[in-house]
């Protein structure tokens, strides 16, 4: 199977130091690849590099991100913009701030349909209603009239999911889509993303720090630390028998709800020290 997104030797740095170190990552068509790591591991940086929305101060120093035969890193802005939304889309991290507070849901949802897919206002409206229906929002016509602050966090994330799928992109990058939601809503949203992905046959790059989420929705996973890929493989295998000591420690650190009396286990200092040495080498 040929990869849809092929990232090779990707390195990036900021003024403070390296952010990504020679990352290699390929995502196959229709699969869900998890990017796992703690804060600062570089998982969001990879996602943003693919979308060309790296914050100022972070520069890619080497590497390729190949998508549909084109290197996204050397693609002119104009060409890249044509692909965004239509070929690659984003489900953002924070549903509370990722919708424009001053505009109605309907206007925000139809923007992409009208400006990118060339629909007229009425068709776009009908399509937006259908999209909200797809993400299981009840009474979509009413919701289209609402402002973001009138919706709950879960509703907003559903709207953002609808928006990401609205132009039927081949790849969707989900940047910690459930982190800002509470646990009960998380589950529904995860199931929704999974169903939508299957229906649309979308390839999903799923950024998260939650191993439970990985186990639920992802096919393969990449474990990152300090911008370096530590381990990569099928989710079931890695969760079953992690090879890298950091991955082992990460799995052990996951709280066990069935054994609440057990104290939490942080990643041991020895593992971290070994990692630091590995990174500086």
């Amino acid at each position: 199977m040929s990869p849809v997104i092929d990232i090779k030797h990707l390195s990036a740095r900021s003024a403070a130091g390296p952010i990504l170190r020679d990352v290699a990552l390929s995502v196959n068509a229709g699969e869900t690849m998890a990017l796992v790591g703690e804060s600062g591991a570089g998982k969001s940086t990879i996602a943003k590099a693919v979308l060309g929305i790296l914050p100022q101060g972070i520069t890619v120093t080497s590497g390729d991100i190949v998508f549909e035969g084109k290197n996204l890193l050397t693609l002119p802005q104009r060409e890249l913009r044509k692909m965004l939304g239509v070929r690659i889309a984003l489900i953002p991290q924070d549903p509370l701030t990722s919708l424009n507070p001053a505009r109605r849901i309907g206007d925000q949802l139809t923007d992409g349909l009208r400006l990118r897919a060339g629909m007229d206002g009425k068709t776009a409206r009908t399509q937006a209603t259908r999209l909200l229906n797809d993400v299981q929002i009840r009474d979509p016509e009413r919701v289209l009239q609402r402002y973001p602050h009138e919706l709950s966090g879960g509703m907003r994330q559903r709207v953002l999911i609808a928006q990401a799928f609205s132009l039927n992109p081949q790849v969707i990058i989900a940047d910690e889509p459930t982190t800002a939601l509470d646990v009960t809503v998380q589950k529904q949203v995860l199931r929704l993303i999974r169903d939508m992905q299957r229906n649309h046959k979308t390839t999903l790059l799923f950024v998260t720090h939650d191993l439970g989420v990985v186990a639920q929705v992802c096919d393969r996973m990449t474990v990152l630390y300090g911008g370096k890929v530590l381990e990569q493989g099928v989710v079931a295998e890695i969760l079953q028998s992690p090879q890298h000591p950091y991955t082992q420690a990460l799995l052990a650190a996951n709280p066990r709800y069935d054994r609440p009396s057990q104290s939490l286990k942080p990643v041991p200092e020895t593992v971290l020290a070994a990692l630091k040495q590995e990174l500086s080498a």
Binding site: R81, L84, S98, A102
Partner: protein, 271 residues
């Protein structure tokens, strides 16, 4: 519906002035230019038909006050709106595009604000010649910086928020993001500034007509009336006081409206 009484009070007073300006020929008891030297400097109430008296040429003060609304409000609305459009456009460009654009526009603002505004406006009108167009031009040329500065800062802040990033990831062009995504979030600030700027425009117009640099002297203006009243303050205080009070209340109304709008539109305070 805004609950803030300042919006209703300020807005109500401005609406009243607006109606007075539009229907001036219908509601003013006399022709504002009609001289009647036999009934000069009549005190308020001395003649029931001249409710707030007459000036040194026997012209009805109330009628002149009402007609002067026309110049004041025209200048306030037109000049403030034009300054707003120019300043907002440049401010948004500077705030969103950053880099070279920001550097150029910001330096321009800095240089502009180094000039003393009143002197600059007098100079401008002296060069452009008197007349309402010159007054408006002078205000626009001087006061666009007020909008540009604030809108630039606000745009910068909005551009860093995640909804802008989300729109970029959806493949929206920079123009679309600036005018469809960011502009609606900057509008509240613009409205507040616009209201305050109208008050400032009223003052500037009064200053210019006070020194005789506004419209021709036979058109009644508040500034012109104050200038005339100043000369006969010991004989006829009402010629000075009424336009002064009207001017004061008008500026106060615009400021209160602006402050009220700020409270009402501020999303942080609303939540």
């Amino acid at each position: 519906m805004p609950k803030d009484f300042r919006i209703w009070l300020g807005g109500g007073f401005i609406l009243l002035l607006l109606l007075a300006a539009i229907f001036a020929p219908l509601i003013s008891p006399f022709d504002p230019l009609e001289q009647d030297l036999l009934s000069a400097t009549m005190a308020p109430g001395q003649d029931p038909s001249h409710i707030i008296g007459t000036d040194s040429l026997g012209r009805d003060v109330l009628s002149r006050l009402i007609f002067a609304c026309r110049i004041a409000l025209t200048v306030a609305f037109v000049a403030a709106t034009l300054a707003c459009l120019a300043g907002t456009f440049l401010g948004m460009l500077a705030g969103y595009l950053g880099g070279w654009w920001d550097a150029t526009i910001s330096r321009l603002i800095d240089i502009w604000m180094a000039f003393p505004p009143v002197l600059l406006s007098i100079l401008l009108v002296a060069v452009l010649g008197t007349g309402i167009h010159s007054v408006i031009a002078a205000i626009v040329v001087i006061d666009w910086t007020r909008f540009a500065r604030v809108v630039r800062a606000e745009t910068q802040q909005q551009a860093r928020l995640e909804y802008t990033e989300a729109a970029t990831a959806l493949g929206m062009s920079r123009g679309t993001i600036l005018f469809r995504e960011i502009l609606p979030n900057v509008v509240p600030v613009i409205l507040v500034l616009l209201s305050l700027e109208m008050g400032i425009a009223v003052i500037v117009e009064a200053i210019l007509s006070f020194v005789g640099l506004s419209v021709s002297t036979d058109t009644p203006t508040w500034g012109g009336m104050i200038a005339e009243g100043r000369q006969i303050i010991y004989q006829a205080w009402w010629v000075l006081v009424f336009p002064l009070v009207t001017l004061f209340l008008t500026v106060l109304a615009f400021n209160q409206l602006g402050d009220g709008l700020r409270q009402w539109l501020d999303p942080m305070l609303k939540r």
